[in-house]
Symmetry: C2
Subunit: 215 residues, 2 copies
DNA sequence: TTGACTATTCTTAGTTC
DNA sequence: TGAACTAAGAATAGTCA
């Protein structure tokens, strides 16, 4: 049959659609590669077929390209004021909720930068702020940090006061005891002060030390 | 001049490269759109020119497509055990560091899901866990939640104890006082109990209420 | 930079195996 | 599915405006 000009609309026949997808997808990826090579451009391309399968191409690191894309497009979001941090609530649920909210905001603010830099302490975080961030981002970051300070300072002040009030501290042997029952928390504690959380039938995860509850 | 077959390598002439970039870029975006329409595929494409300018296309929400891509490619990271949470340190810096670390881990775990779901409390977070997550993700999430519980419970217990020890609470008029000096924290407080943080010469941001320090 | 204008090359719809 | 074929479109290198 003679080839016809086709209309650009969803192909009805499932098989014809799959064949066309396969052919045109290859064509698209080839064109992307050629453009990248010819013009020294960085390109990221991902395609999900109607069945959900992923095909992707990137001229350099996909992760980096996505970050770069996020940074160039999220500027518009930064004009917003961060939501109000609400101290003074001491319920488990409220504190968890605040942590989740701040997590989301930090994520929105920094994109994926933290992950990439292998950030392992606050000093490095502050370097990021002084370094590559735009003025708006710095301003927003400063606000976020202030609120973060507020949360952590509140906690540390409480702990200091507590420690003061309860001195002198007593030492207990918690080995084998069940320390917490709430939530998903650790049910067992070893005699050298470690807390373990059972994950499944044959593994436990070390959660931390008991020193915090010995004040 | 007669058209020649071209070799796929970087075009030397800057002007020729720019012209080709412009032409082929359009061709590529058109092909991407056509493939998306014809075959009902979701496509995200972004191109950075050699001068750094971004051109992008996505058949549906770019954010969602990037998330979907992240989810399909980050599975391999989830086998790792989360790093140990270290309670018992009460310095400002240590607490900030822990919050940052947990933020990073939550981000790695959930991808961008939280943002998309408009998550606004812990109940919804738990629904996510019960819902679409794979078994590995659920396991990892459970560990993360346990550690999160540990941090928040530690805080809430301290606060409860504190409140008990200091009862009955006194009420003060903090208006105009400087409450905290450390970090980036709020320097001014209004007479209706709000704390403000100066951001620059002409704006302040409301950080929260003073109720937390009235215990 | 941005449009046109070809002559060519490239892509692919329709088909067969 | 996938590969091969082929003629009809589509894209585009080179050029000029």
């Amino acid at each position: 049959m003679v080839r016809q000009k086709i209309e650009i609309k969803k192909i009805d026949s499932v098989t014809a659609r799959q064949v066309t997808f396969s052919k045109r997808r290859r064509g698209l990826f080839k064109k992307a590669q050629e453009l990248s090579t010819l013009c020294d451009a960085d390109i990221a391309l991902f395609v999900f077929s109607s069945t959900g399968k992923l095909y992707d191409y990137s001229s350099s690191s996909m992760v980096q390209l996505i970050q770069r894309h996020n940074q160039q497009t999220q500027k518009s979001k930064l004009g917003q004021q961060p939501s109000i941090f609400r101290p003074g609530s001491n319920s488990h649920a409220m504190l968890s909720k605040q942590l989740v909210e701040m997590t989301i905001e930090l994520k929105q603010l920094m994109g994926e930068d933290l992950e990439v830099l292998g950030m392992d302490d606050l000093m490095k975080l502050e370097k990021v702020v002084e370094g590559g961030l735009s003025p708006e981002r710095k301003k927003y970051f400063r606000v976020w940090m202030a609120r973060c300070d507020f949360l952590t300072m509140q906690e540390s002040e409480l702990m200091e006061e507590n420690a003061r009030l309860k001195q002198p501290a007593e030492k207990f042997d918690f080995a084998g005891d069940c320390v917490f029952q709430q939530g998903n928390l650790a049910e067992s504690i070893t005699n050298n002060g470690f807390i373990y959380c059972p994950v499944d039938s044959d593994t436990s995860l070390k959660l931390g030390y008991v020193c915090c509850i010995l004040f």
